[in-house]
């Protein structure tokens, strides 16, 4: 299964940055673009069903269907220090919102190492992988739901 094109481009860009501090600065800049889920979709307290498993930054993900059947992914990150979670949210939204669901469903969780490098703590990598895994699961359920309704 092909990886969504925009995700490939972003991972290629990050992989091309050899200097660690340069890559970190790019991720910090991305986190600065984070926008919380619009109130029309969800308001506090956010439902447990939307909470990312294992993410200690209390990240939530809210899918919103597009007319073409694909999904937009919206996020909330309740930990004010959850800057990596915010960067990951921006990347997932930029690269997977509107992408073919079959491709989104197959995105492997370990792309977090391509984004952040291998030097992540176990807890941090689990939380970030949980975000990727939840987005993929939401896409998978949407595909399965469409299949069941056909």
């Amino acid at each position: 299964m092909a990886v969504p094109e925009k995700l490939t481009q972003t991972l290629d860009l990050l992989g091309s940055i050899a200097d660690r501090s340069e890559r970190i600065q790019l991720l910090i800049d991305l986190a600065g673009r984070f926008e919380e889920v619009p109130p029309r979709l969800a308001q506090r307290p956010y439902p447990e069903t939307a909470q990312v498993p294992a993410c200690e930054s209390e990240a939530y993900i809210f899918p919103e269907p597009r007319p073409d059947g694909t999904l937009d992914f919206h996020f909330a990150v309740e930990n004010p220090q959850g800057i990596s979670a915010k960067a990951m949210a921006v990347i997932l939204d930029d690269t997977l919102s509107g992408a073919p669901l079959e491709q989104v469903a197959e995105v492997p969780s370990d792309i977090v190492y391509d984004v952040f490098g291998r030097e992540l703590s176990m807890g941090k990598s689990m939380g970030l992988m949980g975000m990727v895994g939840m987005v993929a699961n939401l896409a998978k359920k949407r595909v399965e739901g469409a299949g069941a309704g056909a």
Partner: protein
């Protein structure tokens, strides 16, 4: 008497307030060290003059599951311009998880001239205090490190097995769902690095975060901590205690509380923790 001294700790001098830090930003005898779980936080802004100690890059052996050795520690402290007389003041995210972890590793090498910033990074931020992206540079020191001493503050699996068999006290600082083993079987949860769930027999559950005030991340008073660890979990100050979590980071926080704030003399952190115990063949597990 300061507000921290009023809390009744056995060693109040190991904690400093954000006010104290603000008044010592240019003190040459102090080195402020930020240590976080999130690798983006320090570069996004830190206390002026603070250096970073990164757990994965600076404190771990790059090959074996172990900490750096004498030469690595010596090189690290020389690079940070720390001498034997420097007071190292740690702070970080997650209510000082990683700050206490770094402090614990420093203690393994005998560098116990250190303090923790009460409330950590988030308190500094919430008080609107200044941050900078400037990474400071200090003249390298001529620090001569001691050999790492793993006996006093660190526990290994065979010692923990003997400890549990002797029914000595242990504190599991993970979440209740990790302690019960329930989380290992939750759908959609990523693998936690262990094949089996549960806890080491005899360990009492006291999640690490209970030691801090949720509103500002400061440590609870000595009376509140005694209620938690002594009246609820049954510890006594003279006990030989082992603490553990998943990889030893959260339990270093509890190690700091028991040793420094409550004055326990025999507290060891089992850094192998559940990622080792939950994968070992034949060791006892309780659920």
């Amino acid at each position: 008497m300061s507000e921290i001294e009023n809390r009744g700790y056995v060693h109040p001098e190991v904690l400093v307030s954000t006010d104290w830090v603000a008044n010592h930003l240019n003190d040459p005898k102090i080195r402020i060290v930020e240590s976080n779980e999130d690798p983006l936080l320090y570069p996004s802004g830190h206390i002026p003059g603070a250096v970073e100690v990164d757990w994965t890059r600076d404190l771990n052996d790059p090959v074996r599951r172990d900490y750096l050795g004498k030469d690595g520690f010596q090189a690290l402290l020389r690079r940070l311009g720390i001498t034997k007389d420097t007071t190292v003041v740690f702070y970080g995210d997650k209510n000082n998880w990683w700050a206490t972890y770094a402090s614990w590793v420093f203690h393994l090498f005998g560098h116990d001239n250190s303090k923790i910033v009460d409330g950590g990074r988030i308190k500094w931020l919430n008080e609107g205090r200044p941050l900078t992206k400037d990474v400071p540079s200090y003249p390298p020191s001529d620090y001569v490190a001691a050999e790492r001493d793993d006996k006093r503050f660190r526990a290994f699996r065979d010692q923990v097995l003997a400890h549990t068999n002797a029914k000595k006290p242990m504190i599991d600082v993970r979440s209740p769902a990790e302690y019960s083993g329930e989380r290992l079987h939750m759908p959609d949860y990523p693998n936690e690095g262990a094949l089996r769930g549960g806890h080491i027999p005899g360990a009492k559950s006291v999640p690490w975060a209970k030691a801090v005030n949720p509103e500002d991340g400061t440590f609870k008073t000595a009376d509140e901590l005694r209620a938690l660890y002594e009246r609820e979990a049954g510890l006594k100050p003279d006990d030989d205690v082992v603490v553990y979590c998943r990889i030893g980071e959260r339990s270093s926080h509890t190690w700091f509380v028991l040793r420094n704030l409550l004055g326990y003399n025999q507290v060891r952190n089992y850094d192998g923790s559940w990622t080792e115990w939950g994968n070992l063949v034949g060791v006892p597990i309780e659920r």
